[in-house]
């Protein structure tokens, strides 16, 4: 496929959609459906650099802290639960129950336990993101290759070396799947944790615009939220390519034979 054709294919539909939205909302007088042009104008006006510093960066900081903490906790617990059979039997039903509780419902409880500062918002993010990572790690650790674990036993590979190479690296494709599933949840919880107990943040600002009936600004916030989501998923894809280079190579390799 020539470069031009691929370029057209990649951009055609998004541009088309954007244009459709622009035309459809051009002359809109509806209070809650401002024209796309006024939204974009509001975007420039609202998201100045100092507002980004005041609201967007703290939100992203909390998002990152919560997300990374959730991954670390999820992998650590997952490795233990996946390796020790009776531990898995003991905690699995409990985990299924805790996983099923929608995180937004937990926000008041987390506020009760840890106050109203950033720590609470980070804990809310962790409370939602830890599950996909944990459960996928358990699956990854449980599903490791028999022959590889026999090899380790035969060659006396135990302890930290075994943990790193057999337990974690073997499970890494599954762990990454869990981490990818956790990303959108982190964004959602970032916003929801700011809807309930905050005085700054991206989610908080969007809600404030909505309550203050500043509709174009509100839509610009929603647009920014979407862009943040896209940016984070691109960053994740890059990190994944680095982390799982070997895995993609292996799968592609196997396909050619």
């Amino acid at each position: 496929m020539t470069l031009v054709r691929r370029g057209v294919l990649l951009l055609a539909l998004p541009v088309l959609l954007f244009a459709a939205w622009w035309v459809a909302s051009a002359g809109s007088t509806d209070f809650y459906w401002p024209s796309l042009s006024s939204i974009l104008a509001a975007f420039g006006r609202t998201w100045t650099w100092d507002r980004v510093q005041a609201d967007v960066l703290p939100s992203l900081g909390r998002l990152l802290a919560g997300y990374l903490l959730a991954v670390v906790v999820g992998v650590a617990l997952g490795a233990v639960i996946g390796s020790v059979r009776w531990v898995r039997a003991l905690v699995e039903p409990l985990l299924e129950f805790l996983r099923a509780i929608p995180p937004p419902v937990l926000v008041p409880i987390v506020i009760l336990l840890s106050g109203i500062g950033d720590r609470t918002k980070i804990l809310v993010i962790v409370s939602g993101c830890v599950w996909p990572v944990l459960l996928n790690t358990v699956e990854g650790v449980r599903g490791r290759d028999e022959v590889l674990s026999d090899t380790c036993r035969t060659y006396g590979i135990t302890g930290p070396l075994r943990l790193r190479h057999l337990v974690l690296r073997a499970a890494s494709p599954q762990i990454v799947t869990g981490a990818r599933q956790a990303l959108p949840i982190a964004i959602i919880l970032m916003v929801i944790s700011e809807m309930m107990a905050a005085n700054e943040g991206l989610g908080f600002t969007v809600v404030q615009f909505q309550r203050g009936f500043q509709i174009p600004e509100m839509w610009s916030g929603v647009l920014l939220l979407g862009l943040v989501g896209i940016l984070l998923s691109l960053l994740f894809r890059a990190a994944e390519r680095g982390l799982l280079g070997w895995y993609h190579g292996q799968r592609a390799g196997r396909r050619e034979w």
Partner: protein, 269 residues
């Protein structure tokens, strides 16, 4: 990423007892914690009080109406998401041109958090079931679509060529080659979609106010009825567990022939 059907735990005597023990210890901790003053009892009622309140709630007709609204929103949203996800997934997955043309759009819309849709749905449908339905469908749809596209992409070229060489038409190829290969992915997609759908259902009701358990929880919060809040949270948790058991049951039934499940039975203890 091959998300092959998760291995369903084999339920034999001992692990079940351990599992129940795990839950019992957790319940006991929630009973002792507040009474011992670790947490202010006024805002974190012990398990016994929660269960008593749950008993009262079950007596209220409004509870059952809310439960039915929740189940209906959840089931309806899940059904639309699964059907749409499979149809669009197979379509985009098998036609290379379509897949390439829509790749960026899928990547553009997918990461947009469904929460960003809340202002949109409120304007469109207000605090009605349909608002939360849109949220649920939006979030659950991507889970199914991505898995189905993975599944269709995972079709072994050798199998596809064999089918073509035996003159199987497009529809027959989908029926006998694409579908069986994609099935484990579809099932994984449905399993993921089920849990996401429940979470978005309750969240939508909580934040927008569409009728259902989520709204009952918010209503209880606004009425400072702390025990009712915890009782209803317990119900949402139980709903999640039941949903998970149901999807695992369906998974074992539908994928009985699949190696991941089959290998599960053959390997000696």
């Amino acid at each position: 990423m091959v998300a092959v059907a998760a291995r369903a735990p084999r339920v034999t005597g001992r692990p079940v007892a351990l599992g129940v023990l795990g839950l019992a210890v957790f319940a006991l901790a929630l009973e002792v914690g507040p009474r011992a003053g670790l947490v202010p009892i006024r805002y974190a009622p012990p398990t016994s009080q929660i269960l008593v309140t749950l008993g009262e709630q079950v007596g209220r007709s409004a509870f059952w109406v809310a439960l039915l609204d929740t189940l209906r929103t959840w089931a309806e949203g899940l059904l639309i998401a699964v059907v749409a996800g499979i149809v669009v997934g197979v379509l985009l997955g098998s036609v290379p041109f379509l897949r390439a043309a829509t790749a960026t759009t899928v990547e553009f819309l997918r990461p947009i958090p469904s929460v960003a849709l809340i202002p949109l749905v409120i304007v469109l449908y207000g605090p009605t079931i349909r608002s939360t339905l849109v949220l649920v469908v939006y979030a659950a749809f991507w889970q199914v679509l991505i898995q189905v596209m993975h599944g269709v992409a995972d079709v072994d070229p050798v199998a596809r060529d064999t089918a073509r060489s035996y003159g199987l038409g497009a529809w027959a190829r989908i029926r006998y080659v694409v579908w069986p290969t994609a099935l484990p992915y579809v099932v994984t997609g449905v399993r993921l979609a089920t849990s996401v759908a429940l979470i978005l259902t309750i969240t939508g009701q909580l934040v927008i106010g569409s009728p259902g358990l989520g709204k009952e929880i918010d209503n209880a919060q606004q009425s400072d009825a702390v025990r009712v809040v915890y009782a209803l949270i317990l119900v949402t948790g139980l709903l999640g567990v039941l949903a998970n058991l149901a999807t695992r049951f369906v998974e074992r039934r539908v994928l009985a022939w699949h190696p991941a499940i089959r290998r599960e039975e053959v390997t000696p203890a």
